[in-house]
């Protein structure tokens, strides 16, 4: 049976991370499972965790009154969900909903923040990884905003 440490070291987000840090992070992690259609968190919730997706598919949504939820991005195995645990005010910016049965590692935010404060090298390592993801997502969002396929603009 695989341990959380094994799942962690296999997940692309943690690739190349010092094994000592893998053990440290595993102490804040737990395996979780979401049924299809179930909400993982909602906009405005306190950001108590982030998730490393192992299986399944998650929709990141924004709720538009009158239109309902609009999917702005989908995330799959190998990706991470949630970054707002890292910086104040620690509030979720969007809804997240499992589109299919989803299995993930859930990281307790308070536990992680404490470990990052105690070991700034770990904190900086995680910050670099999250910043890279934020950069990629910002770039993707800009490309989406360009609406490049719309020729009738």
């Amino acid at each position: 049976m695989k341990t959380i440490e094994t799942f962690l070291s296999e997940h692309p987000f943690f690739q190349g991370l010092d094994p000592a840090y893998i053990d440290l992070l595993a102490g804040c992690a737990a395996n979780v499972r979401f049924d299809a259609g179930g909400h993982i968190f909602r906009e405005g919730d306190e950001s108590k965790a982030f998730y490393a997706i192992r299986q399944g598919k998650v929709a990141v949504e924004i709720f538009v009154p009158g239109s309902g939820p609009i999917v702005i991005q989908t995330l799959e195995a190998g990706e991470v969900l949630g970054w707002s645990w890292l910086v104040p005010p620690h509030r979720k910016q969007f809804d997240a909903r499992a589109l299919e049965v989803t299995v993930a590692l859930k990281f307790d935010a308070a536990c992680l923040r404490t470990k990052c404060e105690e070991d700034p090298k770990l904190g900086y390592e995680l910050l670099k990884r999250f910043t890279q993801i934020l950069g990629q997502r910002l770039q993707a969002t800009r490309l989406q905003l360009l609406d490049v396929y719309n020729v009738s603009r």
């Binding site: 609009i70 999917v71 702005i72 991005q73 989908t74 490309l143 490049v148 396929y149 009738s152």
Partner: protein
């Protein structure tokens, strides 16, 4: 070079503003053989002529297939033609995607956006017809909404195969959409390929191609193994009139498919 008359034998509406027409020559002879990525000048009689990529199967010589998006007068006329009507054809012109022998035993990544899937479809026919000759094959396709997806049935069929990875994403999903949402470049790291030897072919809006090429290079793929299809105002088709000049090249003759390393610096130049 005069247009050769072809009869429209089938028209299908692929999306709100996109039609695919199948043509056969009036004279009963075969259509000219083409290489995937080449284009024809299609003439809507009495209206005008436009360059349109060939989107059919290169192994079917008795017919031509073109997918056309309605953006101007001529394409509007072409999208409106009915079965039995005539269309003029000049071509095929230009340089296409890498020849099959250049792709043999390599992983092939096809990245397409919007109508950009049309010029890549002949490559997919070739790859799938001779599947064992190639390494892993991935098709990544991004479009605006689920309604804009081209060749939906074909994509579903290819997706059902075990020997090709097909990933489709939309910029905006709707309530019934269960697939990916996000730009096509986000799919690149989701498919397996060996960046040391793989070949990538990219076609879509210019901005999308630039972002896709950047993402592919970040995976370790060298720019000289990335091919993109340029869209310019082709007119004569043989590099004489100069309408499609792009730096030292005439896109109608030296393109439309070009190697990214050769064109990258010019793509980033704002004046060109």
């Amino acid at each position: 070079m005069r247009p050769r008359p072809f009869r429209v034998i089938r028209v299908s509406r692929d999306a709100r503003d996109v039609a695919t027409m199948t043509l056969e020559p009036f004279d009963g002879h075969a259509a000219d053989a083409f290489a995937p990525g080449q284009f024809n000048m299609l003439y809507a009689f009495g209206v005008g002529e436009v360059p349109i990529s060939i989107s059919g199967n290169p192994h079917e010589s008795d017919r031509l297939v073109h997918t056309i998006r309605r953006v101007g007068l001529v394409t509007k006329a072409l999208c409106g033609v009915q079965r039995g009507e005539a269309v003029g054809v000049r071509g095929p012109f230009g340089r296409g995607w890498p020849a099959p022998r250049e792709m043999e035993h390599r992983d092939v990544v096809v990245v397409s956006g919007g109508i950009g899937l049309a010029p890549l479809r002949p490559v997919l026919y070739e790859l799938l017809a001779n599947r064992r000759q190639y390494g892993r094959v991935s098709l990544l396709y991004g479009t605006r909404t689920p309604e804009d997806i081209l060749y939906r049935k074909e994509l579903e069929r290819w997706r059902g195969r075990f020997d090709v990875d097909v990933e489709v994403t939309v910029d905006r999903g709707d309530a019934g959409w269960r697939g990916h949402v996000g730009v096509v470049t986000t799919l690149i790291h989701r498919v397996p390929f060996d960046p040391a030897t793989a070949i990538a072919m990219v076609c879509g809006p210019a901005v999308m191609m630039r972002f896709a090429a950047t993402e592919l290079i970040q995976t370790g793929l060298e720019a000289e193994r990335i091919y993109i299809s340029m869209e310019r105002n082709m007119h004569c088709g043989i590099g004489l009139c100069g309408h499609c000049q792009y730096g030292p090249w005439f896109i109608c003759k030296d393109g439309p498919v070009m190697r990214y390393d050769q064109i990258q610096a010019r793509l980033d130049r704002r004046e060109v």
